[in-house]
């Protein structure tokens, strides 16, 4: 029931929001709905082991053997909670941003939330595809209508990219369906396609996920889309939507096509590592804060991709916890960028400087988030990155011989990450004030509150990650069990 509510509450309240023409009313209504969803998500997370409460199954398309089947495992519950916590924070942080026809904007945001929840919970391939698209379409409308100057062209590119990915995934889903005759996830897990078929079905799925995440060289839509979208949509895109791709890898790719994931693992990891270094180098060159954060996001996501294909417990646990951490950290980053942009009317680092003098509280929060972004110990990202590197270095040599080169190159990305993040800190917050930043004031109460929540989450998850890690235990084991290639290959050798 909880699983169904997580989708229904935002869906219905989103539709209602379209009809609340008064801006204040629409804002309050959507915030209340988001908080309600968050509370449901917390309840869901605390009882994640109680599968009966978190599952829902109903008749849907009987003729196709597809059912409306939802369920939350540890990973699903965590991602729902991330979605749940993000939306109230997004709504509060953009409370003062003026939108034309705010009720439509907020309605679409809530619809996107419903789609995201569906993606994280769907246990039926066709349903997964439905929600995958449902999450995308509202974002298309949001970005095209409320974005920056070049929004129409850029969003269009983003839409076509992701749509082509989704359609290829649909072909993949249908291909497996033609063998299993059911869309149920367990039927997919038991499909056991021969290696030859897995080898190319892999790419049908992987392209969809890679475009969404995005992984080099399928990332070209991302920096432009992040830059041109309204910040609230950027937060959804980068904080939550990219996790759809990672979730896809973990839930739909590795266990369904284990042999192909093993065979293509090194290729994909290499692509991701190239992406990490490349994106970090470009991030270093950026003057626009939004673009810098966008490129840094490519680097962070790339690392998750490498870790997924290392296929061991440490790496997978790291990936899962990093999904949560990255969501929180990048949300914090965007909130700060949004505040700065609203205060000074620019995102260009060259025009800013010395904000620490006029806005000390904002600066403190920025540094906490920035340290989390470069994965300093005591922050949440440290736990994730540590586990991931540990996993990549300790990769079973039968799975990949390139653990050390991959880890070393990816590590370069971490160092570069520190360089560009600190460069941003120095240029924007430290140094002398100029005529533009002199007038700045510090942040107000509700901004302090949301940044406070983010900072507390960062530190708590960094110091005491055990509850999170514990909740991933089962799902990690089950993924590893289903994608245990060495075990699968053994009988073939005899």
């Amino acid at each position: 029931m909880i699983a169904l509510l997580l989708i229904l509450v935002p869906l219905l309240s989103g539709i209602i929001t379209f009809f609340i023409k008064k801006e204040e009313g629409a804002r309050t209504w959507s915030l209340l709905s988001a908080i309600a969803t968050f509370i449901i998500a917390i309840i869901g997370f605390t009882c994640y082991s109680n599968t009966a409460a978190l599952s829902f199954k109903a008749h849907w398309m009987g003729i196709l053997n597809s059912s409306f089947s939802l369920s939350a495992d540890g990973m699903g519950a965590m991602l729902c909670m991330l979605t749940g916590i993000s939306f109230p924070l997004i709504f509060v942080s953009t409370w003062n941003t003026v939108y034309k026809k705010a009720h439509n904007f907020l309605g679409l945001m809530l619809l996107a939330q419903a789609g995201l929840m569906g993606v994280f919970l769907a246990m039926d391939a066709l349903l997964f595809y439905f929600f995958w698209e449902l999450a995308l379409i509202p974002v298309y409308f949001i970005c095209s209508q409320w974005g920056g100057e070049k929004r129409i062209k850029i969003t269009f590119k983003f839409f076509i990219y992701t749509f082509i990915g989704s359609l290829l995934m649909l072909v993949g889903i249908l291909y497996i369906y033609s063998k299993t005759n059911s869309f149920d996830i367990t039927a997919f897990y038991n499909s056991n396609l021969p290696l030859k078929e897995q080898m190319w079905v892999f790419w049908l799925f992987f392209l969809a996920f890679a475009i969404k995440m995005p992984i080099f060289p399928f990332h070209t839509w991302q920096p432009d889309a992040y830059e041109q979208s309204p910040t609230a949509a950027t937060m959804v895109l980068s904080g939550i939507m990219v996790k759809m791709g990672v979730l896809g890898l973990l839930r739909w790719l590795l266990p369904v096509l284990p042999l192909a994931s093993f065979s293509w693992g090194d290729t994909v990891s290499t692509m991701a590592v190239i992406g990490i270094v490349y994106a970090s180098l470009i991030a270093f060159q950026q003057d626009d804060m939004k673009r810098l954060v966008a490129y840094s996001s490519i680097a962070h996501i790339g690392l998750m991709c490498v870790a997924v294909f290392a296929e061991n417990k440490s790496a997978l646990q790291g990936t899962m916890i990093q999904m949560f951490s990255h969501g929180i950290n990048i949300l914090g980053m965007w909130i700060i960028v949004e505040i700065i942009e609203r205060k000074f009317g620019t995102r260009k680092m060259s025009e800013l400087g010395g904000i620490a003098k006029t806005a000390p509280v904002l600066t403190i929060f920025f540094f906490i988030i920035a340290f989390a972004n470069i994965a300093l110990p005591l922050t949440n990202a440290f736990i994730g990155e540590f586990l991931m590197f540990n996993g990549i270095l300790g990769v079973n040599p039968q799975i990949s011989k390139y653990g050390i080169p991959l880890a070393v190159t990816a590590g370069l990305g971490i160092i570069l990450g520190a360089v560009y993040t600190l460069k941003m800190a120095r240029k924007v917050f430290l140094g002398e004030t100029n005529s533009l930043t002199e007038q700045g004031t510090d942040i107000v109460f509700h901004e302090k509150a949301i940044l406070g929540i983010i900072a507390v989450t960062i530190i708590v998850a960094g110091v005491y990650p055990q509850p999170l890690l514990h909740s991933f235990e089962d799902i990690t084991n089950s993924i590893l069990h289903k994608s245990d290639v060495l075990h699968l290959l053994k009988p073939a050798k005899h």
Partner: protein, 457 residues
């Protein structure tokens, strides 16, 4: 049978209604009531109630598949009349005759969907085509319309000739026109037969505007009065495809290895030509005619795959495609400027029209939660189930993504750009009908089970 006989009778009735009534309004009412009667008569036949009992066993078979498709076609025509009949009045003075011709076309459709003999197929196709030639030229004073009609007629006659030639060759090799009596074992694979089959393939491809036999389509669709274009591009086209599937699935199914590769190549060519040329169009009407070629590519999967999924998919695809295209052409007939710029800012001035267009375009593009997605889904499923030529499926998917490009240009223009009012206001009745179409499209997309359930009555 009910629908066939009644539509022919009602066609004559409509012709005389023009003599009896002086004004258009009663004619329109008669037409709509007649269409509802026709629909009910068809539904009754689905339940086993037959009004007419002629022995047509050698020529036609009114099986549930044909009846179901007839139901879709008649229902779509009903919606079409409800939305666009006011536009039809503006084409010329002979309003009653246009309606009569539409009824005759329905009669042709019922024959095409249920033929058992090649001669009946020929009859059906011709009964569909000849009224269409007239409707294309209905706007008598418009040169473009005249040119389109002439072009359509000449090309159509040519393809009729090819079709007859094909039928003659098959008769020569088989000694019969009746499909059931033909001998399709591989031993019967004579050159004569294969040649006849290919001629039929080409002729049907022409009627269904499949590449490389599509050249007439954009000019004819562009030249014909917009109201009739929407009829031609949707209901008629879908009916031709049902005939196509019956012919190649039922009659030539056992010789699949000879023609399936040709159909596969034709699908690829149709998708490519339709989509790529649609991208470069400046007028929405022309874009829609090229996109209808592209949609024909997807419909052709029904011919290619020839399994249960394909047969069901053809019905769903036709229903989805007819609804969406009728909806969007209804909006188009309200526009004064057919270019993409003409749609600028439509959402502000005519929110209902813009909303309808959006839903219809989303459906045509195959976005989930709409009927169009389900249609595409079924076609892809059918193609994958055959287990061969997977490149074709992937190619189709890439082309579907291309189609998003031109469909979404209209949505962009309506919602994200500013512009002056370029449209005539729709009446509230038309608005409600359009909204009903949208609701149907979405319901069909979310709960296809109910719709499909009827298939197995």
């Amino acid at each position: 049978m009910n629908a066939l006989v009644l539509s022919a009778i009602l066609g004559v009735v409509m012709m005389f209604s023009g003599v009896v009534f002086q004004k258009n309004a009663p004619i329109k009412t008669t037409g709509i009531i007649a269409m509802i009667l026709l629909f009910l008569a068809n539904c009754m036949e689905m339940r086993g109630i037959r009004f007419f009992k002629f022995d047509v066993s050698g020529f036609m078979a009114f099986d549930s598949y044909a009846l179901f498709f007839n139901g879709i076609a008649i229902f779509a025509t009903l919606i079409y009349l409800l939305i666009t009949s006011s536009q039809m009045e503006k084409v010329g003075k002979n309003f009653a005759d246009y309606l009569a011709l539409i009824f005759f076309i329905i009669a042709g459709i019922t024959i095409t969907t249920s033929f058992k003999s090649l001669l009946t197929l020929f009859l059906g196709i011709e009964i569909i085509s000849i009224p269409l030639y007239i409707l294309t030229g209905a706007d008598k004073k418009n040169l473009k319309s005249n040119e389109a009609a002439l072009k359509y007629f000449l090309m159509g006659s040519f393809s009729t000739g090819i079709m007859l030639m094909g039928i003659a060759l098959i008769y020569g090799s088989q000694g019969t026109f009746t499909i059931d009596k033909m001998n399709f074992t591989v031993a019967a694979k004579s050159t004569l037969h294969i040649a006849g089959m290919l001629f039929l393939l080409f002729a049907m491809s022409f009627k269904a505007s499949v590449a490389p036999f599509h050249f007439w389509t954009p000019d004819v669709y562009d030249g014909a009065p917009t109201v009739f274009t929407s009829f031609m591009a949707t209901i008629v086209k879908a009916a031709v495809f049902v005939g196509f599937v019956r012919l190649f699935g039922g009659a030539f199914g056992k010789l699949e290895d000879t023609w399936s590769i040709w159909v596969a190549i034709m699908i690829a060519a149709t998708l490519f030509v339709g989509n790529i040329t649609a991208v470069f169009q400046q007028s929405v009407k022309r874009m829609l005619s090229y996109s209808s070629i592209a949609q024909a590519g997807f419909l052709l999967f029904g011919v290619y795959a020839m399994n249960d999924a394909a047969r069901e998919g053809l019905l769903i695809y036709s229903a989805a495609y007819c609804l969406a295209t009728i909806g969007i052409f209804a909006v188009l007939s309200k526009m004064t400027d057919y270019s993409f710029e003409g749609f600028n800012g439509l959402a502000k001035h005519q929110p209902v029209l813009a909303f309808t267009t959006t839903i219809c375009l989303l459906s045509l593009a195959g976005i989930p939660l709409t009927a169009g997605f389900l249609g595409k889904f079924y076609m892809l499923k059918a193609a994958i189930m055959t287990g061969q030529h997977l490149w074709l499926v992937i190619f189709a998917v890439v082309m579907a993504a291309v189609s998003v490009y031109y469909y979404f240009r209209v949505i962009q223009a309506m919602y994200f750009k500013e512009g002056p009012v370029q449209s005539v206001a729709a009446s509230s009745f038309e608005k409600y009908t359009l909204i009903a179409v949208c609701v149907l499209i979405i319901l069909l997309g979310i709960f296809p089970g109910t719709f499909l359930g009827w298939l197995y009555f």
